[in-house]
Amino acid sequence: MTGSSALSEMLLPALLSAAVLLAWLRLALWQRSAAPADRSQGWRLALLVILQPLAAGLLYLTLVPPPLAGTAGTMVVATAGAPRFDALAAGDALVALPETHDLPGAVRVPDLATALRRHPGTSGLRIIGHGLPPRDRAAAAGLPLAFDPAPLPPGLTALGLPGQVAPGAGFRIGGSVIGTPGGRAELLDPSGKTVDTAALSSSGEFTLAGTARVAGPADFSLRLRDRAGAITETHPVPIVAAVQPPPRMLVVAGSAGPDLKYLRRWATDAGVQLSTSIAAGAGLDVGDAPARLDPSSLSRLDLLVLDERSWAGLGAGGRANVISAVRSGLGVVLRITGPIADETRRQWANLGLPIGETTEPSLRTAPGISAKSGSEAQTALQLTRQSPVAASSDTVKLLENPANPAIANWRSLGRGRIGLLPITDLYTLVIAGQSTRHAALWSQILGAVARPQSTTTPNITGTAERLSLCKISLPASVLSPSGGATVLIPEPSIPTCAAFYPTETGWHGTAGTSFYVAPNTFAGDTQAATWRLQTSVIPKKNEDAALGRGSSWPWFIAWLLVSATLWWFERTRYGRVRHLDQKNQID
């Protein structure tokens, strides 16, 4: 359809131009071939020459009427927090969504889709206020969007929560606050104990870290304090910890060491299916069965932990096997435990993870799951870093903390990921009594690179108004906090998805998972979503044009008048009379 319309768009002006040229040619031929008495005077000729393209133009406009001037304006959509007075351009329609206050001159509409139906020719939207609520984002998709955000109200404007968290692993939340300079944010665990606290940055942002415990939903909460220390706001922070499928991990080490011992202790406790192979020299392997790194056994692994000695001992064929296994999903972590051969350095630089120049081992502050709290800062341990990890544009940093930009990093290679860990003494954390942090660090490092797992957990998105639950086995029902059950009806087009309209806030349960329905959405999140909507729009001109064409009738009448004038003028002798008069006078 688009092809044919493009053809007609090109063809029609070409045909009309050719017709005009033909008519001009004919005029010229007439002028030349006519008897001198019949020749047109200059002004008559000029009029005929002008009227031809005019008629052609009007015919084009009759066939393709221009967009209507009256409906071609943008619609100004007032959302929550819209300023009371906003300059409207002529032709703009002002509609107010239900979240707005009273706006003078605005037409109240129940939602944006209704407003678009009532104003069929809308060519663009201008959003004023905090942004479009989730209900209206689908309706606005595809329309050119201009967004004039209103200043956000004071208080918490955005809160970023993690998705599912592994039991025992750390998690981070972030958010931004407006209007409390010098304030603090605190994360409280379900027993009401403060687990992390952070000062708000100058722009009001904060990041807090906590640790999940057993699997299940947990009610953390966020508390904001102003400069004086008074509590200004408290918000629920729902965290769901879900049991993770245990990965199959192989550790191949060139030598034994305490770090491996505590790694194996943790991995065994965390349920990882671990096998170990530690070279003890003279061809002797300590651990489980000797590691076989052929393609079939590598495809059964989720994680492979090597060190520089075992990497060098793989041989060219083994390394090729490992790299091809990574490309199909395997995760590989290279522990740097000592000086690195130039060849290894070159090989990893080719893989995209350059290792920095070997220097003297340097001490780094141990990254903490919550290194900011006072007690943690006191017990911050110094870890030995063997070799700096060179910064690269396409790597992702791991174990960041304010004191060290990055300690480890990883990058993706095909479907899998490879990572570098230049630290050899994470075990000191356990010895210092911080085995929880030790486990959380390893969980973070290995979780970043482990083979992806096609999850069967339901994918729940949406807001308190409407949630979409996907990847669930239907029929199912949702249990609300008060005990009521709602049976989900599968969506006809996607049979594994269903919609749920919550009536209560709090923990809901379905199909073995829990999800939390928060009472409110934050203005900052709404604003950010509207920004995303604005940048994601690709205007579709044709459909807009088809939508906004006016009537052809006025152009047709004008063309008829012009054509009739032309026809009459070509036949009339007016304009040629002067020659006859002269001739008569001569005669």
């Binding site: 692993a169 379900p190 699997a215 993770q244 990882v272 003279a282 923990w507 349960g509 829990s514």
Partner: protein
């Protein structure tokens, strides 16, 4: 009959009817006005308004009655009576002025009027007006009386609750009078709870968020804290009166309540923190009409405690299926005094030359009071080297300052105490608080004033050669002899008990010395020689425990020849197939190898004799007979000296026993018979100890999603150390009573969170990319 009399007689019924009619209309309106005034201003205004409106009505009535005059009468008679022949005015004229014809006519009319009555002339009731007035008046009055005011109450609103209470007995108020022990000096105070106000229904618990549990029809639970040994007096009122009531403790104990009039009282001394609920039995007739009780009020009898693993820890936390909440009283234990040393700043002070006195300042704090007098224990040492004696004396100090924070000051005269160079004065403050009946005694750290030993007599340049003398941790045999002789000298001056105690202490020293030498002979002793640097030495810095009960454990009976500490296990040998060869383990056991001693037999024999002598010496010293012990001690000293002069003693080293290295195979590359030692760490024992709280944690998250197994949780709490078992019991009870109570569930989950350990962090698995994502990743080369 005069004209006036005639008029009066004939218009009286009409006047009466008119007046009555006016009042019939005016009275309801006056009543309504009075009611409005009463509502607006009060009863006095109402009375005034009523009087005023009635007066107004009377005035109107008088006005209306005035029109019933003679003219009205003639007009009425003429118009209504044709037989009057328009001559009624003849009745009103003076008879004297009438002409005969008029007189005749008047007489005729009079005769006609004989049959008439005046009542026929009275006007009719104005029925419509009266009905309208009464309706309006009654409506206004009712509105004034019953219309709810801004506070939602009306003065005459029907108050069903105010009627005599019915239904099962309900707790109206609970008053707890706490009388702390007299020594605390705290005031008696009263804690009162009243029933929560009646509400229309349960709050929207799911939306309510973080509120506290609310239950109408129920009084708020009482929470109080009181010093331990306080006297608690409960005063409870019920409506209607139950037949019996008691307080049931969570431990199963009950405190019966006695009735005095309308109140129920009980008294108890607080010995530990407790949770209790109020139970009562309903009057008998209520049971018959129990079907009429609304569903929200159940029969408040206590059901028997659930059978929760009775074998485990006595199941101290039974849950009852009642609707009454648990009340909590925390017992605050009396804390022992705390002594802070203000001067000197360090425990060891070196005496400056020509220092006359030693100032000491202590500050003692207690939660209630410190007794004003304290004892200062002063120990002065004298002597040199091994021959050091102690002189102990006690001084009484009087504290200054408030009872909770007293300051004790002493200024010890150094010269008067007899300190000599190289010796110490050790001072220790002993304070007691005023707890009754058992005052708590606390000792301060020991403070030492040391007169530095005179080292100046050594020649210059020899400082580096001066050996630092290590403290002797146990007395030598010579010291024991010296002390025993000193004890014998002091025997007359000291009490027999003191004599026996000192002799016993010497016996202990003898035992340590014997064990020390016994090691050279290969004697085994699991207990290391206890060094006499513990509490008994005056240089111990740690505050003494307040009153530690002596703990004695009964050792199990052992076969003859064995002691509990002879260095090997006495467990019954394992029996079974293949174990029969272990004859030694069945009929005896090894005492280690004899290679522990490598002294030559002569030396060993001498040492053994010395040890025998020490045994005898120790036995006699323990029996408070140092004079018998002394010869043995001398024998032992002599023998030891002989051993020391005889030879040197070597002790064997102990270490790992490695398999011998086969030198023929070494460095040959032969790997036969080499295993692959598995170094996999042992799996943790099966059975997750945190499974029960974790399951309860998940089940408590949602209301309907699986009911939490509270009984298992209770058993878990009883068997695991949790911070506050009473809080756990109360929270479990709250959830048990009302499964849908979201705040109760949240509180229990909070306690569970604090009690659970963080499991080892699992590895989070990132989700797999979809088809498009995989293609994208594959294309990234």
């Amino acid at each position: 009959m005069t004209a006036d009399a005639f008029t009066a007689a004939w218009s009286r019924p009409a006047r009466a009817r008119s007046t009555a009619d006016t009042f019939a209309i005016g009275a309801p309106l006056a009543l309504a006005a009075a009611a409005l005034a009463w509502r607006a201003q009060g009863p006095i205004a109402a009375a005034f308004t009523l009087a005023a409106t009635l007066a107004l009505t009377a005035a109107i009535a008088a006005q209306r009655a005035r029109k019933f005059n003679s003219r009205w009468l003639t007009r009425e008679l003429d118009s209504t009576r044709p037989e009057m022949e328009d001559s009624a005015d003849l009745f009103l004229a003076d008879p004297a002025t009438l002409n005969p014809l008029q007189t005749l006519q008047r007489a005729r009319l009079q005769s006609r009027l004989q049959t008439e009555t005046a009542t026929q002339l009275r006007p009719a009731w104005t029925t419509h007006a009266i009905i309208a007035a009464w309706l309006t008046g009654l409506a206004l009055t009712a509105a004034a009386l019953f219309w709810p005011g801004p506070d939602g109450t009306a003065p005459f609103a029907p108050t069903p609750a105010a009627t005599t209470p019915s239904g099962p007995p309900r707790l109206i108020s609970q008053t707890l009078r706490i009388t702390p022990p007299a020594y605390t000096g705290l005031q008696t105070r009263t804690v009162t709870t009243s029933p929560s106000p009646l509400r229309g229904g349960r709050l929207g618990a799911s939306r309510a968020g973080w509120g506290t549990p609310q239950n109408p029809n129920e009084s708020q639970p009482l929470t109080a804290s009181a010093p331990i040994n306080s006297r608690l007096t409960w005063t409870l009122t019920f409506a209607p009166q139950p037949t019996a009531a008691s307080l049931t403790l969570l431990t199963g104990q009950t405190i019966p309540l006695t009735r005095t009039g309308t109140t129920w009282t009980a008294t108890r001394t607080l010995d530990r923190s407790m949770l209790y609920r109020i139970t009562h039995t309903a009057p008998a007739f209520r049971a018959a009409s129990a079907t009429q009780t609304p569903p929200t009020t159940r029969e408040p009898t206590v059901s028997p405690p659930l059978a929760v693993t009775p074998a485990k820890a006595g199941a101290h936390l039974p849950i009852s299926q009642t609707t009454t909440p648990l009340n909590r009283i925390n017992a605050i234990p009396d804390s022992p005094p705390i002594i802070r040393v203000l001067t000197p700043e360090r425990t060891l002070t070196e005496m400056t030359p020509s220092q006359p006195r030693w100032p000491l300042t202590f500050e003692a704090t207690d939660d209630h009071a410190i007794t004003p007098t304290a004892r200062l224990r002063i120990i002065v040492t004298s002597g040199e080297g091994e021959n050091i004696t102690f002189r102990e004396s006690t001084a009484a100090l009087t504290g200054a300052g408030p009872p909770k924070k007293r300051r004790f000051t002493a200024n010890l005269p150094i010269a008067a105490l007899g300190l000599t160079p190289g010796n110490d004065i050790v001072a220790q403050l002993i304070v007691t608080d005023n707890r009754a009946p058992n005052p708590q005694t606390v000792r301060s750290p020991s403070l030492i004033l040391r007169w530095p030993p005179n080292l100046g007599q050594q020649a210059g340049g020899l400082e580096g050669m001066v050996k630092t003398v290590l403290p002797a941790y146990f007395r030598s045999q010579r010291q024991i002899i010296i002390d025993a002789e000193a004890l014998l000298r002091d025997k007359r001056r000291i009490t027999p008990e003191r004599f026996a105690a000192r002799s016993d202490a010497l016996g202990e020293d003898q035992r340590i010395l014997r064990m020390r030498y016994g090691q050279f002979l290969g004697e085994e002793s699991s207990e290391a020689p206890s060094l006499p640097v513990n509490d008994s030495l005056p240089t111990n810095d740690a505050p003494q425990p307040a009153d530690k009960p002596a703990e004695k454990t009964e050792a199990p009976a052992l076969p003859a020849g064995h002691a509990a500490d002879d260095g090997h296990g006495h467990a019954a040998p394992e029996k079974g197939f293949g174990k029969a060869i272990d004859v030694l383990a069945e009929y005896g056991h090894e005492h280690g190898d004899e290679s522990a001693t490598i002294a030559d037999p002569v030396t060993r024999e001498t040492l053994r004799q010395a040890l025998d002598a020490m045994w005898d010496s120790e036995r006699n010293l323990r029996q408070a007979a140092p004079e018998i012990a002394l010869p043995f001690a001398y024998t032992a000293l002599e023998l030891i000296k002989k051993v020391q002069q005889a030879s040197r003693i070597y002790l064997s080293r102990t270490g790992p026993e490695l398999p011998p290295i086969d030198p023929t195979r070494r460095l040959t590359g032969d790997r036969r018979n080499l295993g692959q030692p598995s170094l996999a760490p042992p799996r943790r024992e099966a059975g997750d100890p945190g499974a029960v709280p974790a399951a309860a944690w998940r089940a408590l998250a949602g209301a309907g999603a699986g009911e939490a197994d509270l009984e298992s949780l209770q058993a878990w709490v009883a068997n695991n150390p949790v911070a506050d078992p009473l809080a756990f019991a109360a929270a479990i009870d709250a959830v048990q009573r009302d499964r849908g109570c979201q705040p109760c569930r949240r509180q229990l989950r909070g306690l569970l969170w604090a009690a659970m350990k963080t499991p080892p962090a699992q590895i989070p698995r990132r989700p797999a990319a979809d088809e498009t994502g995989r293609r994208y990743l594959d294309a990234l080369r």
